[in-house]
Subunit: 121 residues, 4 copies
């Protein structure tokens, strides 16, 4: 996450945010932020959200995710907001929404649904 300059934002019970400034190292040919980077911060935000529902000392692993790219990832920065849909003992299902922020206005640019496994760490 350091490589792409992403930072963990607010973390509350069942939710977590990742913030990512727009810089040239994460943009693809046509000037948008690379879809893989969008997937990366969506995955991380949802993983941190899941971690808030896991037992003390446990770890969380991404089993799988599915992401729809909805609009170009552009603007001043991206914010990925992860949240828990359902937390079981072994499996936590989450979602993550990624917003492109331009002059403070947010536009939804990706939507993810993810499955997390809780491990003993």
């Amino acid at each position: 996450m350091t490589t792409i300059r992403a930072e963990l934002g607010q973390v509350l019970d069942g939710v977590a945010e990742i913030h990512l400034p727009n810089w040239d190292g994460i943009r693809q040919q046509v000037g948008f932020i690379h879809g893989g980077v969008v997937g990366m911060i969506a995955d991380s935000a949802a993983g941190y959200a899941a971690l808030t529902k896991a037992p003390e000392g446990a770890e969380v692993l991404t089993i799988e995710y599915k992401i729809n790219m909805l609009a170009p990832a552009t603007g001043d920065k991206l914010i990925a907001r992860g949240s828990v849909i359902r937390a079981g003992r072994t499996i936590i299902v989450t979602k993550s929404e990624v917003f492109a922020v331009t002059n403070g206005a947010e536009k939804l640019c990706a939507q993810m649904q993810q499955t997390i496994m809780v491990t003993n760490g």
Copy 2:
């Protein structure tokens, strides 16, 4: 892709490869390559595979993908192999397999299924 040091490998009709050396900037805390990076090269390999089936001058956009993480992404390098499942005029469905390569031995570490849209460029 330059930021993560990924390189386009062999591209044939309906298939494409991305190669990624394992280096510290793409590893997460526990020493494996970050899942987001795995997703990024899987997405790119399948996108390049789709591009071989698109008309001259057209471009391809990732609508969505789903990826299962199967094993830790570790070893000397990763190879993502994308291939086309079905190419329609507007929609191309692809898959991508990511292998962790250690001393030349390959182990499947992620499997993706993806939907691509062909645009006029």
Copy 3:
């Protein structure tokens, strides 16, 4: 849908419901409603939601969907609630939530994310 006794419920701008009574022809060995049936009503509800955002006379086709099974589908009936996440000219992205209803109390039992293509009909 008639075969499984599902019925279209409320349809508003960007949202649609499917109702399905619990009966023995849709239950699997262990007594829960079959996951395939849950997928079917989730798919249909989101498709009807998408149709409210398509131009007059157009049709909608499911390109793909991803569904997480969250809890056993049991109780008196199921309600699938589809809604539109983003409506483009060609592609509409939706979600669908399926609730198991027992004595009027609802419990989320499945969550779907879906991609729809608008066609000229």
Copy 4:
């Protein structure tokens, strides 16, 4: 599965088939077999394939799946072929391909990627 007249076909180590004749109770308005039914047999075939990799007496649960609809589900019958991509102790990842069969000729009409959990039954 009896309600839709599906039958379990060949089952080998890591693979399983479901066969479904085309009949009017499973067709939607425009004459194709309903996508939900396609999802149902794809899910079942992959689940049976996973079961061949689970310990004696264990059961398998679908955590989630993602399916792309590739071509109209039409013809004399459908065959869903499930197979195991990777079998872990708790999680089994599978895929399923659904073929539309007309006069013995097969055409791929849907592709699924699925996550299964092994339970103690």
